[in-house]
Subunit: 230 residues, 2 copies
DNA sequence: ATGCCTTTGTGAACGCGTGCACAAAGATGG
DNA sequence: CCATCTTTGTGCACGCGTTCACAAAGGCAT
């Protein structure tokens, strides 16, 4: 398949074709009217725009289970990322092989960053060590940090930090799960009400502190919200 | 501190106080005018709305580095998640202790789900095994899946899937990193141009297939885009 | 060469979320 | 009990991203 239309691409991606074309137009990607987009050229343009054609040396600090998982993650190489080094504070880890690389001690952090020209650091340490590691990374010249530790990092102007909290994704799933359950419960309640016996709302587990006077009526506390997060 | 105002909360969170109040109003959380929100009551309301007060048994399938990391992740317990079981297809893993739990073989997947009332599954297997695992999870009654495998999962209506791609976060950092570098290069180029010698754009690594006629002029192919993703 | 057909690129309209500004409500002090 | 002050809850306006719809452009058959 040498060429694709915005319509095909949009259907495959599950988005609107107009949006896709407009997005491409921002990139300056030129298709051919009446034909579509040349696949190879398009792939190259998007790859370059996204930085996939560049080589990004990355250092991973904290080689526990998560750090090891990241070191061995297959998706990195194909996206232009190269693990330039693994760092761990535990001397017992020093010298060990993880995912084909040798773990080095924290002492070697700065030389590693400078030698390899690392500008992106990944923090997979316990929460307590994260800020100290972050400071050393920044000091050594790292300007982008991916933080898996459950802490908010303070960084100077010009340094980007992205925080990944693995439990947030679960949280979102649980939220939807609750909504599903809530809707079912509501249906049952509605049926019960139709049968003549209104379902009475359960008392709050934590009482309202001050005077809990009127309620707007139509919604008990157990209501599901009208909005939902992403 | 028994009570907080929306202003304080907004400042701490780095958002607009009006937005915060509006969001709270959607939840039906009632503050007290002239005083603010009762902290304990607010925490309880938000927790309940988010499902933190419920107990969510979770099964993790695929106990490699990532699965082990997830099993030991501290953030789960405090958010209401409980790892009900660890499953791995490798018989060599069966019976081993990971993060204080015993790894069980894939054969025990269905009974585990039914006994523990699991409705959320986490897939941390290699890409090849993910869809098969997914099918079995759904068949056994799981309705929410968190997928760490680099595959798109096909699921029936009513089942939620969230895909976590660890390299995407790095991708976003790299994109910004590229923009930073691009801006610096542009500055240098502008200086060079001011000195009389215009920087010439490098030829594309992949040639345009068809006729590459006019360009709108002001932007060489190496341009950074005018927009950026989240 | 000419006309028709397909698909792009984009101006314009729509919808939604965010932020502003203010009235209502409750607390507090005289 | 009334006046004043603080803070909530929310109608309204603005801005941005998405979608619609169509003119322009290129390919292709006759």
């Amino acid at each position: 398949m040498p060429t694709v239309s915005s319509e095909e691409l949009a259907a495959a991606a599950g988005v609107n074709s107009a949006k896709l074309r407009k997005d491409f137009s921002y990139l300056g990607s030129y298709g051919t009217r009446g034909v579509g987009y040349d696949v190879e050229y398009l792939v190259y343009q998007i790859s370059r725009e996204l930085g996939l054609t560049q080589d990004w040396p990355v250092v991973i600090v904290g080689i526990g289970n998560l750090g090891a998982a990241l070191a061995g993650y297959g998706g990195f190489a194909s996206r232009g990322f190269r693990v330039a080094g693994l760092i761990d504070a535990d001397r017992a880890m020093t010298g060990k092989q993880v995912a084909g690389l040798t773990v080095r001690h924290t002492d070697e952090l700065e030389p590693l960053i400078k030698e390899s020209g690392v500008s992106i650091g990944v923090i997979a340490t316990p929460a307590g060590a994260a800020q100290a590691v972050c400071n050393r990374l920044v000091e050594a010249g790292v300007t982008s940090i991916l933080n898996f530790a459950p802490t908010v990092l303070n960084v100077p102007e010009g340094v980007d930090v992205r925080k990944v909290d693995l439990s947030i994704e679960l949280q979102i799933l649980a939220f939807h799960e609750q909504r599903k359950a809530g809707e079912e419960a509501e249906l049952r309640e509605a049926e019960a009400a139709a049968a003549g016996q209104g379902g009475k709302p359960a008392a709050d587990a934590v009482a309202r502190p001050a005077a809990r006077k009127k309620r707007t009526g139509q919604g008990p506390d157990g209501d599901v919200p009208a909005v939902m997060p992403a």
